[in-house]
Structures are given as structure tokens and as C-alpha cells.
């Protein structure tokens, strides 16, 4: 009976010690992690269009209802073709803008007539990002020709999950993390074209894009 309080005191003493040890450990871990902040930059997910095979996983595997991956048009690589293999379904009935003739399931590509030169008609193809679901059908079609369409993770939408669900399912491991201040990529030929374009003083938009693009 008499030794009961002593025993309790001892137990409490040990528990206090363990608690302090736990607190110190947690504090050290926190300090270590915060201290590491300066060593590198925060990163976000992006896909490499040079590795992308437009398999459609981007449209279906993102945790968002509407995928964070969208198609982007790099106009300086586009041939402005009349018969665009990214725009028209290979089994088109007629060469017009009717839905059944389009490759894009959501009609997200706008086709605008620009000019007729030496009997050739030229059209500009613009992506409506709000309608695009990131399925990459047009990317696959365009790859037959110039490949100016390419997929990118759009960072106004991406949740930056711990483990990108698309990255897990990507057959070519095209996803990795990029520094958050340069979160976009271009195909290598497009990057070369863009670097040439920025030299022209009137192309502020090209400089804007280049400032966002990761250059390995």
C-alpha cells in the first residue's frame, strides 16, 4: 500500500521523460524539414510531350472530373493545312466542320480560314481549352504531320497531388516534377523555334511563354 504513490511518481517521471524526448524529436524533424526549404524549389507535375504517345489516359485517369491535362497548339510548328490530320476524323464524310467529321470529341478545335495562296487554302486551328478534355486524339492525328498539337498539364487546374494518378498510369513515364516557376514543357523542335522567335522585339507573347517553359 505504501509504495503505491512512489510507483506512480516513477511512472509519471518516465512518461514525462518520454514526452519530452518525443517533443524534441518532433521539433528536430520539423526544424530539419523547414531548414531544407531553402535547398531546392517546390515542384509541380508536368508531362514531357517528347515522350507522350497520346494514349488517352490523361483524359480518364486524372482525379479531377475534367482532366487537368489540356491540348496546346504551338502555331509556329503548324502547317496551317487545309486537310488537317489533327482536326479531321480519318473516316470523315465530307471536309467540313460538321461534328461527325471532326477528330475532337468535344469540338474544342476552332478552324479559321486565314488566306488562299497559289490555290492553297490555309486554316488556323485554335484549341478552346475550356472544351478540351485532354484525350489527345488530335495530338495523335497531328503527329502524322507536324505534331504542333501537344498535351500539357494546365496549372490553373492541376491539384498537384502527391502521386499524380495519370503519372502512375502513363505507359511511357512521361510525367515528372518540374520547378513550380517553370512548370511547362515544349517539344524540342518547338523550343528551338520559340527561342528564335523571342529574338524579334515584337513578340512579347513568345517571351511570356518562354519564361514559363522548363529548359533542361
Amino acid at each position: 500500500m505504501n509504495d503505491q504513490p512512489v510507483k506512480n511518481d516513477r511512472r509519471e517521471f518516465i512518461q514525462d521523460g518520454l514526452r519530452v524526448a518525443g517533443l524534441v524529436t518532433l521539433g528536430a524533424a520539423g526544424g530539419f524539414l523547414v531548414g531544407r526549404q531553402g535547398e531546392a524549389e517546390e515542384t509541380v507535375w508536368q508531362l514531357d510531350p517528347n515522350k507522350c504517345i497520346a494514349c488517352k489516359n490523361c483524359a480518364t485517369h486524372c482525379v479531377l472530373d475534367e482532366s487537368a491535362v489540356k491540348c496546346v497548339q504551338f502555331f509556329d510548328m503548324c502547317g496551317y493545312c487545309d486537310i488537317c490530320t489533327g482536326y479531321f476524323d480519318p473516316n470523315y464524310r465530307e471536309l467540313n466542320t460538321a461534328a461527325e467529321n471532326q477528330m475532337c470529341p468535344t469540338g474544342a478545335i476552332r478552324r479559321t480560314f486565314i488566306e488562299e495562296k497559289a490555290g492553297q487554302k490555309f486554316f488556323e486551328y485554335t484549341i478552346d481549352a475550356d472544351a478540351c478534355v485532354g484525350c489527345g486524339k488530335c495530338v495523335k492525328g497531328c503527329a502524322l504531320m507536324n505534331g504542333s498539337f501537344y498535351l500539357q498539364v494546365s496549372h490553373d487546374r492541376c491539384l498537384n497531388c502527391n502521386e499524380c494518378a495519370i503519372a502512375v498510369s502513363c505507359p511511357t513515364q512521361a510525367f515528372d516534377r518540374l520547378p513550380a516557376n517553370r512548370p511547362y514543357r515544349l517539344k524540342s523542335p518547338a523550343l528551338a523555334l520559340l527561342k528564335r522567335k523571342v529574338k524579334h522585339p515584337s513578340h512579347q507573347d513568345a517571351r511570356d511563354l518562354l519564361s514559363q517553359v522548363y529548359d533542361p
Binding site: 502547317g79 492553297q120 490555309f122 488556323e124 513515364q173 511563354l209
Partner: protein, 436 residues
């Protein structure tokens, strides 16, 4: 349509050459009156929620602790649970959460190039600190995964002790595997197999929705199955809660051993007073303890032996290893058809040898890691056995500090509490008067 991989030579200014242009880029035409635009990419969305999330966590943890330890109100705890489920669960869609943050911390510790946002650090550490002082009040009302199970735990059955104790080892093993896979940058399995995040997002794959749904169904009868038998963060909290300074109590003052609370807990966390042991029994207990202690190294070595067999399956989590395996299979004609991965690998002009070397390195690393994981599993089992052979004398009904999630269900089962609340009047004095 035939697929031809275009060898992209740069800028070919010239006439429109449809069809024949597989090998070259079709030049962008020189327009007389149209400048070629440059598409703009979207600016990153600023993460304005970080501060709100952190404040919400601090407030919720503080409130939960106050409600569980001081005001002892199950009703208010329940309301807080609903609020946290709505905010952290459905509104913030289960991200960021401390359970998953464990992996980020593991990766950030191992890899200096991976930077952890402050939010993640706070979400990982703050519940741990709170638990160290107040017990698992984070589980009580803040965690959205706990909350969704708390709602369905209505008709509990008692899980047999042997089953409860054995399944209780799973979280530690899960924790070990998750830390190893995350620290090596292989996979974030806690996020990948989070059973309820698909519900929070109202969107997910069928297997995960079925998994989450069945856990909730089981949760009707076996309270909080994820928290008790899977949650790897809960495993850490259990250990810390054991040493907590304060803890939620069943009774507000003194236990009168009326046994009314015995069936109150759906999580099997109420411990009943111990029966004093006879001399024979206590000698046997002591022998068990010594044996369990002596067997610790045996378990650890056995675990390493088991782990050495697990190197291969662990390595196959890595896509690079899978790619190398597929390349080998194709090279020796063992694969029926090529995969997208191998096609892409070859079309990038890379040599299979490259992939083999990478895979070999990964496999060797995973063999080492699997041994460590095995040792961890052995240690977990050994410690559990030691712990089971320890018997501490209890005179009252008390909450098991590691198992109790401070949900407050037992409060109102206690007549002392009812007296405190003025629901019933204290008759104990009158009873003792009449007794003699």
C-alpha cells in the same frame, strides 16, 4: 492509317506538301496579313488555401481537445466531426491530410531535392504534438477519414481479442511499407489506396469506391475499421498517445466500477479492472514476459529472412523494373505483344541495356530495403508479444490510451457523469445510509 514516326527536321519553308511530309515539317506559311500567334499557358493557380487549411486545423484540434477533455460533450464533438468532414473531406477533397503527409515527410527526409510545403509539415507535426499531450483528439473529430467512419458506427459487435490484436499489427506494417516506398520515390501507396478520398471527390475508380464502400459497411458493425486496422498515421498516434500527459476519461471524477460503460465503446478501447492473479498465474505471466523478451531477436532475424524473399515483388512496384522485364520478355520472344511502354522506349532510340542496368540497380536496392521491412515487421510482432505478456494492474474502468479515439461515446454511460450534468441525482449517500 499508317503510323510513321516523323523525323522532325527543323523549319522547311516552302510549298504545302500534304501527304509526302512524313519525314519533314511542313513549313508554316508566310501570310501577307496575319501574324502567327503564340499560345499562352495558364498561370499556376495560387494556393490561397494554405493559410486557411492551417488555421482550420489548429482551431479544429483545439476545439476537439477542449470538447473531449474539458467540456466532455459528445454532442458538440459530433458537430465538430461533421464540420471537419465537410471542410477537410468534401470541400478540400481530403487533401492535404496528415496520413498521406507521412509519405511526403519520408521522401523529404530521404531526398533533398524534394521540397515540402509548410502546410504539409504543419499537418504532419501538429496532430502528433497534440496527441503527445492530449491523446488522439485528432482522430476524435478532425480527421475526415475517421469522421466518415464515426458516422456509420452504429451497431458494434465485439471483435475477439486475438483478432483485434493481430489485425492491429497491420497499420505498423503498412506504415513501414509506405515509408520505404515513398522514401525511395517509388509510390505513394497511402494516397493510392486511400479508401475514402474517392467519396470525398465524388469521383474515383470502381475498385477504390467498392473498397471504401465495403469498409463503411463493415464499419457499421466493427467501429472504424480503417483507423484500427489500416491507418498508418494512426499507428504513430497510438504510440504517442500512450505517453500523453492528459487523456479523455470515461468518468469525470472517480470510477465507481458500475460496469455500465463496458459496452459503450464501439472501438473496444475500454479496459476493465484486472483480477488479481494467483501466485502460479503470476509466475507464468513472468515466464511469458521473459520468453517474449528473449524471442525479440529471433523475430527480427526471422523477419529479415522473410524480407529477403520479398525483394522481387517490392521491386516490381517500380515502373522501370517492369519496363526492363517486358523488354527482356520481348527480346526472347516470351511476350505475346509489345506494350506502349516498350514501343515508346524503343522509339526514343534507347538501348535495352540501359533499362537493364537501371532495373538491376533498383532490384538490388529493393532487396536491401525488403530486408529492412522484414526486420521492421519482425520487430513489430515481437514488441506486440512483449506488450501482451505485460500485465498492469487496474482497479477502475479506463480508456485504453492507444486505442481510445476520444469520440466521447462513453461519457453519458457513466452515472457519475450524469450526476455531474444534473440528469440524475446522487443517491450514493442514501444507499450507504440504508445499507447497515
Amino acid at each position: 492509317m499508317r503510323t510513321c514516326a516523323p523525323v522532325l527536321t527543323l523549319v522547311l519553308l516552302g510549298p504545302f506538301l500534304a501527304g509526302s511530309a512524313c519525314a519533314q515539317l511542313i513549313g508554316t506559311p508566310d501570310f501577307s496579313d496575319h501574324t502567327i500567334p503564340t499560345s499562352q499557358v495558364a498561370d499556376p493557380a495560387s494556393n490561397g488555401w494554405a493559410l486557411v487549411d492551417i488555421s482550420a486545423l489548429v482551431i479544429a484540434l483545439g476545439l476537439a481537445t477542449y470538447l473531449a477533455l474539458v467540456s466532455r460533450s459528445r454532442k458538440h464533438l459530433f458537430l465538430l466531426t461533421l464540420a471537419c468532414l465537410a471542410y477537410f473531406g468534401f470541400f478540400r477533397e481530403g487533401c492535404v491530410c496528415p496520413i498521406g503527409a507521412t509519405q511526403n515527410v519520408a521522401l523529404a527526409m530521404a531526398d533533398a531535392s524534394y521540397v515540402l510545403p509548410i502546410t504539409v509539415i504543419v499537418f504532419f507535426l501538429l496532430p502528433l504534438v497534440f496527441t503527445l499531450f492530449f491523446g488522439r483528439t485528432f482522430c476524435a473529430a478532425v480527421c475526415p477519414l475517421g469522421a466518415v467512419q464515426e458516422l456509420v458506427a452504429v451497431r458494434h459487435v465485439r471483435v475477439p481479442r486475438w483478432l483485434d490484436q493481430s489485425l492491429g499489427l497491420v497499420p505498423y506494417i503498412y506504415l513501414g511499407a509506405a515509408v520505404i516506398l515513398a522514401a525511395t520515390g517509388t509510390a505513394f501507396i497511402i494516397c493510392r489506396y486511400d479508401p475514402f478520398v474517392a467519396m470525398f471527390r465524388l469521383n474515383g475508380t470502381a475498385p477504390m469506391l467498392i473498397f471504401g464502400g465495403s469498409l463503411l459497411l463493415v464499419g457499421v458493425f466493427v467501429g472504424r475499421p480503417y483507423c484500427r486496422y489500416l491507418c498508418p498515421y494512426g499507428a504513430v498516434l497510438r504510440v504517442l498517445s500512450r505517453f500523453s500527459k492528459w487523456h479523455a476519461r470515461i468518468t469525470p471524477s472517480e470510477c465507481i466500477n458500475c460496469r455500465l460503460c463496458e459496452d459503450a465503446c464501439p472501438y473496444g478501447a475500454i479496459e476493465t479492472p484486472t483480477v488479481p492473479l494467483s501466485r502460479d498465474e503470476s509466475r507464468r505471466e513472468r515466464r511469458h514476459f521473459v520468453w517474449a523478451l528473449a524471442l525479440v531477436p529471433v523475430w527480427v532475424i526471422g523477419g529479415v529472412g522473410l524480407g529477403s524473399q520479398l525483394g522481387e515483388p517490392l521491386a516490381r512496384w517500380n515502373p522501370d523494373v517492369l519496363l526492363a522485364e517486358q523488354l527482356t520478355a520481348e527480346q526472347f520472344g516470351l511476350a505475346v505483344e509489345t506494350t506502349d511502354a516498350t514501343e515508346a522506349f524503343r522509339s526514343a532510340g534507347r538501348e535495352p541495356r540501359e533499362a537493364y542496368l537501371v532495373a538491376d540497380k533498383l532490384q538490388r536496392r529493393s532487396r536491401t530495403l525488403a530486408c529492412w521491412l522484414g526486420a521492421w515487421v519482425g520487430l513489430v510482432v515481437a514488441i506486440k508479444l512483449v506488450q501482451l505478456s505485460l500485465r498492469r494492474q487496474r482497479d477502475d474502468h479506463v480508456a485504453n490510451r492507444s486505442g481510445c479515439v476520444a469520440c466521447g461515446r462513453c461519457f453519458r454511460y457513466c452515472p457519475v457523469e450524469l450526476v455531474r450534468l444534473g440528469v440524475i441525482s446522487d443517491v450514493s449517500e442514501r444507499v450507504t445510509e440504508e445499507q447497515p
